[in-house]
Each structure stands twice: as structure tokens, then as C-alpha cells.
Symmetry: C2
Subunit: 221 residues, 2 copies
């Protein structure tokens, strides 16, 4: 497996490129689960999963030379390659702030705790919620303890699941506690200083995709 450039300039890589890497990883894992093939060309990958083969080659080439012309990608190498690019070869610890329905759902959502990610704290500012058990076994802790919890538990990622009105304040507290990556589920934009990466998740895009299919599939309903 060829080496790739470890510290690429991520400012030039769009979120969409990174999202495609996650998609490629899912596709590769599905092919490996199938167990019947060992290599795949970008064309074959594109055909099976309705992707763009030129885009696949471009996305992967961005991080260094990889794949063999005329042969394609070895699936296990490709998986390992994307895992390393995405930084999934080690554990990242999460704290969730906002122990309402969404925060409680996420603390035992399989993708959030298992594999490369681990929820190690669920916090809330509402005294009536502190001490409540969550389905994952964690007890809800006081949001004012965020700085010590981040430091003591080696947390890298803060997840905001508060109501929109509290999101900016919680983001500010996360930044003050030393977090540099924030996943915001509150349906509002939050600002953070340079050097802090905030991703706001907009679940509505998925409904818009469905709406597109309802609207553009003939015969119309």
C-alpha cells in the first residue's frame, strides 16, 4: 500500500469530499462483507453504488498515489487507507451536552458509541435531570462540570443537543473547555473562533432528498 500525505491542507478539501470518503468506506465494507471479491476498480465501485468513477479517482488521489492502473484497488488496503485518512484507526471520545430526547437517543446510537467513537459523558444544565440514568448506562452529569470532564476523560468532540436558544452558549463553553471539534444538532448556526471546527447537522436535507424523489419520479402521485 502506497503512503499518503499525512498533513494535507484540509482547508482546500470540501466537506463534500470528506462525506464522499465516508460513503466509499461504507461501499468497501459492504463489498468486504459480501466476501466474494478482493479488488475493485473505480468504474466497478461507481457502477455498483451509483457513484462517479472519475470523482472516486480524484478524491482518493488527493491524498497520495493509490490503486494500480488497470487493476484497481485492493479492498482491504482501500478500507485501511480511508480509515487512516478519516482518522478512524483510533478512538475519539465524545461528550453530549443536552440530555433531552435527542441527546439520550444519541448516547446509545450504535454509530456514536462503538467502533472509533465513544460517548463518555452526557451533561445537562437542568438540575432535575442530573443523576438520571441513560439507556447506555451513563448517568446525566451537571453541565457546569464540562471543563473537568473534558480534561479528565480525554474528550475531543463535543455534541450539542440542546434547544436552539442554548446552542451558542454551550458551544462557547465547549471551546473554553478546550474542545476544538463540535457537532451541533441544534437547528441553528453557532459561531466559534478560528481553529475550532463546528459541523451543524441539518436532518432536513434527508427529507428534501425524499421530496425530490416524490416530485421527480413519474408517474407523479
Amino acid at each position: 500500500m502506497a503512503a499518503y500525505k499525512r498533513h494535507v491542507d484540509t482547508s482546500t478539501i470540501s466537506d463534500l469530499t470528506v462525506a464522499r470518503l465516508s460513503v466509499y468506506l461504507r461501499c468497501v465494507e459492504r463489498l468486504l462483507d459480501g466476501g466474494d471479491i478482493e479488488t475493485v476498480s473505480s468504474q466497478e465501485l461507481a457502477r455498483r453504488f451509483n457513484l462517479n468513477s472519475a470523482q472516486i479517482r480524484k478524491d482518493l488521489a488527493y491524498f497520495g498515489e493509490f490503486g494500480v492502473r488497470g487493476v484497481g484497488y485492493n479492498l482491504r488496503d482501500l478500507r485501511q487507507y480511508i480509515v487512516e485518512i478519516l482518522g478512524l484507526n483510533r478512538e475519539h471520545r465524545l461528550v453530549i451536552v443536552g440530555a433531552g430526547n435527542l441527546g439520550t437517543a444519541l448516547c446509545h446510537y450504535s454509530g456514536f458509541t462503538g467502533g472509533s467513537f465513544l460517548v463518555v459523558g452526557v451533561l445537562d444544565s437542568d438540575p432535575s435531570r442530573i443523576g438520571d440514568p441513560t439507556p447506555s448506562g451513563l448517568l446525566v452529569e451537571d453541565a457546569s462540570r464540562l471543563p473537568e470532564i473534558v480534561r479528565q476523560r480525554g474528550i475531543e468532540i463535543g455534541v450539542i443537543t440542546t434547544p436552539p436558544a442554548a446552542a451558542q452558549s454551550v458551544c462557547d463553553q465547549m471551546v473554553a473547555a478546550g474542545l476544538r471539534t463540535v457537532l451541533n444538532f441544534a437547528p441553528t448556526r453557532v459561531k466559534a473562533p478560528d481553529g475550532v471546527y463546528v459541523k451543524t447537522v441539518d436532518l432536513k436535507v434527508h427529507l428534501e432528498e425524499l421530496s425530490f424523489h416524490i416530485t421527480n419520479t413519474a408517474p407523479s402521485r
Copy 2:
């Protein structure tokens, strides 16, 4: 505003293209909120939001002629254009099956109820949950009533928020009830017959994006 092709062959349009249309819509809405510009070129749109200008032109051109060479897109026309492509110019009604934490969170999530989407039912098969009020004011109803609820309330989209083990069965029931678009939040793949569009949401991709930024931003932590 130029006309676009209403019934394009959506089988040739990738989910990623549709997802980009949602992104463009958010960008256009942000520019309109700013209130200071009326037109935008694909280059300017790309520069402001870290997108790819050639990709923007290609994505929009797919649906027909639009934009004026050398001038760009009129923002209000562009918004209306994407709104129509995505089918957001009318209401789509949703039913959520699975009244646990995630289902309860989604039934009052702003993007899911408001604008073009409206949650009109929250169902569960657990008798102890039926009749429970949700934060949006809906009462949890018996999942066995799905067919009549879909028919009587003009529902187009089914949202699965059950545990993974129940997801396939709920999807089958949704298809039997006449639903042709399903949004699956259970972290498992579900199968549906041809003609039914199932989108499985994988929230882990967002964590992978953060992991990418943690890993590829020098100096490393």
C-alpha cells in the same frame, strides 16, 4: 426564469447530487438573508461557501437551462428553481413509527415539522406508550393503525425510528400501507421492493468528518 425538465430520469441522478442541491439552497437562503446582493455567479457561490463552481453549473444545468452567462443566477429565481426541483413548493406529510427518544425528538425537530414538511402521526407498537403526549402535542398512536392513518391523513413519507431489529418489519408495513418513500434512522439496512425509495440516515458520517479534521489538521493534538 427558464423552464426545466419536470420529469427527469432520477435513476441517473445520484443522491450526492440531490444532497448538493440542498446545500445550494441553504447557501442561497443565507445570501438572501444577508439582503445585500441580488445575483450570484457560480464562482462567487463556490468561493463563499467552499464549493466547486464547475460542479454547481453542472448540477443545475442537469435540470434545464438556467442562469445567464457572465451575469450568474438571480438569487430569488435560483431559490425558487431549487425549491421546485426538490419539490418543496408543497407540503409533504410524515408519519414517525417508533416513539422512543429519537422519534420523540424528531416529531418536534424544526426541519421536520414546519416549512414543507409536517409530522402528522407518531406511532408505536408498545401499548404502554400509546396515548402518551409528545412535545409537539401529538399523542402516540397504535402502530397497527398505520394503514388507515396513512390513507386518512394523506401521508407520503414514513420515518423509522425503531430499534434495528424492528426496522425491516416496520418498513414492510409502511410499504403495505402504500408509502413509497421511507426515511430510516435505525442503524441497519432495510430492503424494499422496486418503486419504493428508502433512505437510511447514518449519523456516524458526521463524526467521521470531525475525525478527519482532528486527524488532518496540523499541529496534531
